[in-house]
Subunit: 212 residues, 2 copies
DNA sequence: TAGATTGTTAATCGATTAACAATC
DNA sequence: TAGATTGTTAATCGATTAACAATC
């Protein structure tokens, strides 16, 4: 038990957590892999294996104690020890992510935002300052920032990426629709909206063909 | 040749297109799978197989004619015949997507946005109207909308989803961090930011452990 | 005890990679 | 012609699914 977690499994864990939390809110005290599988439309065995990889609390006949499983998932996902991040590119998307606020729940804390020209902007609850990109190097080093979020136009993404990596960032969340080159030990996670659209579009093409 | 395209392949196609377009802008007239593979950091054989699945233009020793390959990719991805979509939920994220504008390039045209209370908002270039959710059913049917984008809070996502499906929507792009239940012939593509964060966070945990 | 549910080991499936013949 | 690059067929790899023993 407690084997290595594949990337696929890892990406399903937040869904499990979500699902189990909502069961808890309904007052349900124990939960089985079968229940979760049915709610999420996944295979029962897959869920069982995934859960076994992050928790040892499973009891035959009973399942998992809801509160414990939630705790195990949150710990595994690092939702407790929050991580500081910076965001570069305060355009529409960048500002939307900044003001979203929901990332804190996932252990992500955006401590600063940068753009070519610094300025003050208003958020929902707080005023935050968008700093000039000239301050990036210093701030990343001083606060030991390890996560960078890139929301600049494609043409500038590589440049920004290099700057982040040079100043200690180890993981990059890239919203620019472009491929970034990084050293081997740096992770780039692309939020690839064009890829998502491709999936939607192909499904639609198939369905519309079927209509005839 | 021209075999069925797997979902993995499909999701790589926009990256290929992007890459090849930027080569074209540099004045490069033909391109080989090897070149694309090196730029994107993928396997050469994988790229070759992927490209073969959407284009028959490959010539030994030469590769693909850049302009033709771009055309084949764009046609396959449906970037030419633009598809109308509606967006539901005009919060920060919803407005960011509305004003992004870049989706048109990918053949997606957001023709209307809905929220519980209708209102006028200002965009970059145009004023667009956010309509009351009461108008959704009528508009979707009248314009034969087939794509719905959900950017409402989790608690309302299923309700909105049901409404869209009831009014003819066949594909849903879901930004709410929740699992949606739909009939078998409807596709839901989740833009799962929590899953992305899980990947970033785990990488970071590993790296930070290594530092000791 | 009986039965539901767990965790694990083996089988299947699909995607990636390797090998290679075809060809411009 | 020679060599680079294609497309295809076979081998490998990893994830999912099936089967089943263990156990509360």
């Amino acid at each position: 038990m407690m084997q290595a977690v594949s990337r696929q499994t890892l990406q399903r864990l937040p869904d499990y957590l979500n699902c189990i939390k909502s069961l808890q809110e309904k007052g349900i005290l124990t939960v089985s892999a079968k229940t979760v599988a049915e709610i999420l439309g996944l295979g029962e065995i897959q869920v069982r294996k995934d859960l076994a990889s992050v928790s040892t609390g499973g009891k035959p006949k009973i399942g998992y104690v809801t509160t414990e499983l939630i705790k195990d998932l949150e710990i595994y996902l690092g939702y407790h020890d929050s991580r500081d991040a910076v965001l570069v590119g305060a355009g529409k998307l960048g500002r939307a992510l900044l003001s979203y606020g929901g990332f804190k729940e996932y252990g992500l804390n955006i401590v600063a935002a940068f753009d070519t020209k610094g300025e003050e902007i208003e958020n929902d609850s707080t005023y935050s300052k968008i700093m000039s990109i000239d301050c990036l190097a210093d701030l990343c080093r001083r606060l030991k920032i390890r996560i960078g979020i890139i929301t600049v136009p494609s043409a500038y993404a590589q440049e920004v990426c290099d700057m982040l990596v040079q100043n200690g960032v180890l993981a990059i969340w890239n919203f620019a629709p472009t491929h970034l080159h990084v050293p081997a030990n740096i992770l780039v996670k692309n939020e690839n909206m064009a890829a998502s659209l491709a999936v939607l579009s192909q499904h639609l093409s198939k369905k519309l063909l079927e209509e005839h």
